[in-house]
Symmetry: C2
Subunit: 616 residues, 2 copies
């Protein structure tokens, strides 16, 4: 199946995306306009992204002392992406957007992620500008957000610091008021920032005339001290080059200096940087300190950020899914064309296996183990894509549904987002490893694309909140919040699917298995928290998340298979057999894995925590 036909099924047949056009915000849209967006993105990805994928891997970003140099192919791809209007696709018409549902935006972006994931840095610019549209002043929107949506400027998110990593409460970048009149700047209360920010994607480049950094920093109290914890964090706009209220460059550099490029295992099309703010390399008005304009209220920085967290994490999950899909298609092509070996024919007298070596070799897709590796990839990657689109649909409901629908969607997203982020990053990486394996020795060479997919995909378990952080968020917060209402909502949706699938003979055994898995996840959640001690509960948060994720994916597959059979019970279309086959694979080979993961959750196994440090 091509990606497009898979997307068409998931969007229109499964998620009924066409009906989104009945909502007022999307009322000018129809399946035709949606398809036109998909067509455009598919074409740009094919023409500008896919051919550049190996180029951006081998021509890593480098700094010539003044500028960060990227390959010409990246400039061309970026230009085509900007011209497509996708940066502001979800925005209002009156600021030049298309009022496209997020579901469609997510689907359209999947083409770029599959063709060359590390070029596709539009997500940060959109996310940055979206945040300003919600929390910025009118002038901030006009000057910064609009110039990002138009592609004239790019955006970053500057959160991590070298000494703090994922621990945002330890952010040490300081922001002090810039002069007595700091409140009066038309671009927002003006501060001077000093500090170092690590892991900043697209932190420096020449793709655009300016870069709009959004920076987390703390405003010292009256004694000059930073407030511990995340409550003290505020948000600032720090442009690379100073601008005026007309959105024109003033010609002055802001005091933001590139301190280093990170040289990575993969994902090399995106520059990743260490930035020094306010070290005095580029003084503004003769003074050291990076000029930053406050966004929202002081101390509310993380609150503003959370607004965009769900979409960013769905973006990471989609990237992981599409890297997996790229490997799946590559290995499927290879398996269909590569002749090697023969089918097993019979057992010999001693019980050994005999093959007829005089017959011609068969294509490797005829070998059982190759098929197993292909079907595993299909189940992982198409399942992951379905989950991401399901979550994207919830984002649209949250934004445009009635109060009750919207609130349910919000809460479901709280629970599902850690899975949408973590599950594809783990299992579509495994899919990439299987794609290498199918290629044999060729898969280990750089003459085939699969080794790069595997390297690129390894990032996704790390950025935007590591696996461990997602797991602590799921078991330590999301399944507990609002007295477990999110978990109950999800269980309700899963039960609906089970009830429907139980009526279909082919799916009834899966429905039973899913019902048992759901019960076991529920009781494991209770067992984990039964002592009320977070140390004990969270000691096995990752195995819990793995089991939770496999249960969610089993549900997604059961729902997809039920829909496919409802539309084509005779399986006259091979895609129906493909979907029910992938669902069967998931239920037979994958879902039973949850037992091992939940064992240690239920028993609050303390083997790892109790071992003394000297014993490692």
């Amino acid at each position: 199946m091509s990606l497009r036909s898979t997307l068409d099924f998931l969007l229109y047949d499964w998620l009924d995306a066409a009906s989104l056009s009945q909502r007022e915000r999307f009322s000018d849209h129809s399946r035709e306009t949606f398809d036109a967006v998909l067509d455009t993105c598919e074409r740009i990805a094919r023409e500008k992204y896919a051919p550049a994928n190996r180029i951006v891997d081998t021509q890593e970003p480098h700094f010539d002392g003044e500028k960060v140099i990227l390959p010409q192919a990246t400039h061309d791809a970026h230009k085509a992406f900007v011209e497509s209007g996708m940066l502001s696709a979800a925005q209002d018409y009156d600021i030049g957007g298309m009022q496209l549902p997020y579901t469609l935006q997510a689907a359209a972006n999947s083409f770029f992620a599959m063709a060359s994931v590390s070029i596709g840095s539009g997500m940060l610019t959109s996310g940055n500008a979206n945040l300003l549209m919600v929390h910025g002043t009118g002038t901030q929107k006009e000057v910064f957000a609009k110039n990002e949506f138009s592609g004239r400027w790019a955006g970053t998110m500057c959160l991590s610091e070298p000494q703090a990593g994922s621990s945002l409460s330890d952010v040490a970048t300081r922001a002090v008021p810039d002069g007595a009149d700091y409140q009066d700047d038309p671009l927002g209360p003006r501060y001077r920032l000093t500090g170092n920010k690590m892991w900043i994607s697209s932190g420096d480049h020449e793709l655009t005339e300016n870069i709009v950094h959004i920076v987390l920093a703390k405003i010292p109290d009256a004694n000059g001290k930073l407030v511990p914890g995340t409550r003290g964090i505020s948000l600032f706009i720090v442009p690379k080059r100073m601008v005026n209220t007309e959105g024109e460059l003033t010609g002055e550099r802001n005091d933001v200096a590139l301190a280093g490029l990170n040289h990575k295992l993969g994902w090399r099309g995106t520059t990743n940087t260490l930035l020094n703010f306010g070290e005095g390399k580029y003084p503004v008005d003769g003074k050291a300190g990076a000029v930053g304009y406050l966004v929202g209220a002081p101390g509310k920085g993380l609150h503003c950020m959370f607004h965009m967290m769900n979409e960013a994490r769905i973006g990471v999950g989609t990237a992981a899914a599409m890297l997996g899909m790229a490997g799946y298609y590559a290995s499927l092509d290879y398996a269909k064309s590569r002749p090697q070996g023969r089918a097993v024919q019979k057992a010999d007298a001693g019980g050994g296996v005999v093959k007829d070596s005089a017959s011609p070799q068969v294509r490797i897709i005829e070998h059982a183990d190759v098929r197993r590796m292909l079907l595993a990839q299909k189940a992982y990657c198409e399942g992951a894509l379905a989950l991401e689109l399901y979550c994207a649909r919830l984002v649209d409901v949250q934004k445009t549904g009635n109060a009750e629908e919207a609130d349910d969607a919000r809460l479901l997203l709280e629970v599902l987002t850690p899975i949408a982020k973590s599950w594809p990053s783990e299992w579509c990486l495994e899919a990439n490893s299987l794609a290498i394996q199918i290629h044999g020795g060729y898969g280990y060479t750089r003459d085939f694309p699969v080794e790069q997919y595997w390297r690129d995909n390894r990032l996704n378990m790390i950025h935007e909140g590591t696996h461990g952080i997602q797991a602590a968020d799921l078991l330590g917060r999301k399944v507990l919040m609002e007295n477990g209402r999110g978990l109950k909502l999800l269980a309700g949706r899963i039960t609906d699917t089970i009830t429907r699938a139980a009526q279909v003979p082919e799916l009834a055994p899966h429905a039973r298995a899913l019902g048992e898995a759901l019960q076991r996840v529920g009781s494991a959640t209770q067992a984990a928290w039964s002592t009320g001690d977070p140390q004990a509960a969270l000691a096995n948060a990752v195995p819990y998340m793995q089991a939770f994720g496999h249960t969610v994916l089993a549900w997604i597959w059961l729902d997809v298979a039920a829909r496919a059979l409802a539309l084509d019970g005779a399986k006259s279309n091979p895609s129906t057999a493909g979907r029910t086959g992938a669902a069967a694979y998931f239920f037979h080979y994958e879902l039973p894995k949850i037992g091992a993961w939940l064992n240690v959750v239920e028993s609050r196994d303390a083997t790892c925590t109790e071992l003394s440090e000297e014993a490692f």
Copy 2:
């Protein structure tokens, strides 16, 4: 624990390696001489290999049109290795060897594998020369094997071909008698070879003055046709440069041409080549065709090769284990020194988790999930190393034990070798991924070593027989051969351990769990073959091998833990707690995974084989 202290425990306390010196062949040895070998290898690995590991990754082998260029560091490391005498360590005194047990050789080699796995290409040279010592003529041993053992020349194994890959029955390289007097060459019956060999490690370089290729080829029958299948395969010595019976270079090149270097994901310290034999680039005596000298009888080539298969596969398993160990040590150091975040302290009113952000950050080894990832690595890698040394010990028993012992060792090795090769290549790769994860973003950069370990280790599931081939060998041949006697022998050893461990209160629950796992593997083996149809039996050979491997490793850990507690029941040494902790981890977190794998084996699940090709 350092690698040396782990090796000391496994060799002397667990495997009683010192007692090998009671055997006649090793009677000049003692723990002192063994330790001296370990000391020397540890020092060379530290001084010459470890510092070169990143260099060989970044300075990939390249061909300047005449020569293959390797970094100077590789030449230095190779020279130090040769001077250590390890190439012929296991050989007889009278040809300059040390008559060292293979157990010690394997342990000593682990230092090189951990320090820089891809420099350590001595294994091929030793293996090549060992084969000649068994199957070669006196002159072949004198001229070729001895010059390899001395390090003057290097060796290769030329099996794969581009069109055949793992399918050796499709070898198409032809060997035809070279003239009427071809039988009379003092170096062996002289043939001319033509064909292409792919994936040849160390196929061309300037580390040594000559390279001795051992090549699989077929001698055409009277009609000029190649016999289909593996029965037609013969073995030839094909030197890169022609030599005389004195072992001197004649000054003439043989007709072996470098057709290309493979550019790999990792393992870049080893040149990997496509070689063209007999294309006429370097005619010998004015004639195209690479000159090759027959080894052993015509048509018995694979038989001769199998002789060295076990040791080669133990070598691959050891390399995988040691790459895992390198990542374990790197991430353990990092976790002990990197401060980040704080311990979870209590649940808040809403059931959420609270941390005291005013307290100083803790080192990440204090986080439960980091400990889980460390203990998993320890369990995977130390367990894998123990298995490899156990197998190496069997090699020594096979070579020097009495007839019954030797035969049992041979058969146990048949069954265990697919696990010794495959299990570390899968799970110590997973260990490397966990080592990256512990490093967070830093682990994804090339400033830290763990990403290279992960790339290097990905090769091990591919070379020396892929995962799929090992699995088919295990379930399709090894557990069936001699009416299942190998499996019964193994079950007997496992049962011995269970009986002993059942007496130790701390280990009794593990002993019960292992007993159940062993029973289930046995019944799954029967269920897989219950229809007698190899297609059905082998459809899930890889999940079978995964379950079999986890059961073997659980046994190894139980045996190691029982021995540790027998020596130090009070756990006064932290290493004892480390060993029993790793065993507990394996029994609680890993062994329960076998259920999911065996489900599909027992039911002969046909989901993957039955799906039509169009449905993928």
